[in-house]
């Protein structure tokens, strides 16, 4: 039973609950700021986003691993030449194989269908959570790439 600091008598339950709520509310803004700072940092890392020209330059330099975040059956039909499938929907099943093939420091360019498609960003986030730090998102996606007439296969 909580005690009244001043008098040593037990505090009524409601008053104790109110004190707990007050204490938590004083802490929570600082906690939420911490969470916000963390998510902003994550967004900043993931938001290392690439446009078509930058992606093509990286593609031509053969310095990166291209990752297709769409479903495997769509990847099977067509994808950027040399890209690897690591779908958002079956990431957990595909990731162990990917991890064996690609070193942690590899530059990875993730893409999906188009800019409104969130799969590339989600896969990029998952990769970063699994230790890959050099992850970029190609926002234009496969539609922009195909319209530009750049190499595809599938």
């Amino acid at each position: 039973m909580p005690l009244n600091i001043m008098s040593g008598k037990p505090l009524p339950g409601k008053l104790f609950a109110a004190l707990v709520v007050l204490l938590l509310s004083s802490i929570s803004p600082s906690l939420s700021q911490l969470h916000a700072a963390e998510s902003v940092a994550l967004v900043k890392e993931v938001s290392a986003e690439l446009d078509l020209a930058a992606t093509k330059a990286i593609f031509d330099s053969h310095s990166a691993c291209f990752v297709d975040a769409r479903s495997e059956y769509v990847y099977y039909k067509s994808h950027i030449k040399g890209a690897i499938s690591l779908s958002d929907s079956r990431f957990d099943e595909q990731f162990p194989d990917f991890k064996q093939k690609k070193a942690i420091e590899t530059l990875i360019v993730v893409y999906c269908t188009e800019s409104s498609c969130g799969k590339a960003r989600r896969v990029a986030r998952k990769l970063m959570k699994n230790g890959y730090r050099n992850v970029r998102v190609y926002t234009g996606g496969l539609i922009e790439w195909a319209h530009a007439g750049f190499p595809m296969e599938g």
Binding site: S71, Y73, V74, Y76, S89, R90, E93
Partner: protein, 154 residues
């Protein structure tokens, strides 16, 4: 007499229509089993090692049952097998819709290729499979299991 004639005509019509439909559906799946397997994987119901076998089994079932319906060979048995498959398809799609997954249903690729119809899981393919279920029922209940080229033994 008239009633028997109508019943026979109804079952024959349903047999021919559904038989042709399942032959096309099974044939196109057999042509690209890997693609069909990848779509089954997207349902996230079966373990990976079972997927190739299930893809082959479903495709063969559709093709064989369709053929048997078309030539009226064990049509009751064939339609019962197809009924079971419809129940599996409907249950799998409802399961995925409820889990919020979005992907191709893997039902009838030729419809999407020829008529530009989208074949993503959702209410339309579920209702269509329920319709197939209803259309298969009369054959399963009232059709025959006879072998057409064998004379009836009296």
């Amino acid at each position: 007499m008239t009633r028997i004639g109508f019943q026979s005509a109804l079952i024959t019509t349903l047999r021919l229509l559904l038989g042709a439909f399942f032959i096309m559906s099974g044939y196109e799946k057999l042509l690209d089993l890997k693609f069909f397997g990848l779509i089954i994987a997207e349902y996230q119901i079966l373990p990976s090692f079972l997927i190739p076998a299930v893809a082959l089994l479903f495709s063969l079932c559709e093709l064989l049952c369709g053929t048997m319906l078309l030539i009226n060979l064990f049509s009751r048995f064939s339609s019962s097998v197809m009924l079971c498959m419809m129940v599996i398809f409907i249950a799998a799609m409802i399961n995925n819709v409820m889990r919020g997954l979005e992907h191709d249903c893997g039902c009838l690729k030729f419809l999407s290729q020829w008529y530009g119809l989208k074949e993503e899981i959702g209410i339309v393919p579920i209702v269509r499979d329920i319709l197939f279920f209803i259309l298969l029922l009369p054959i399963a209940l009232l059709g025959s299991n006879r072998i057409p080229w064998k004379k009836d033994q009296k």
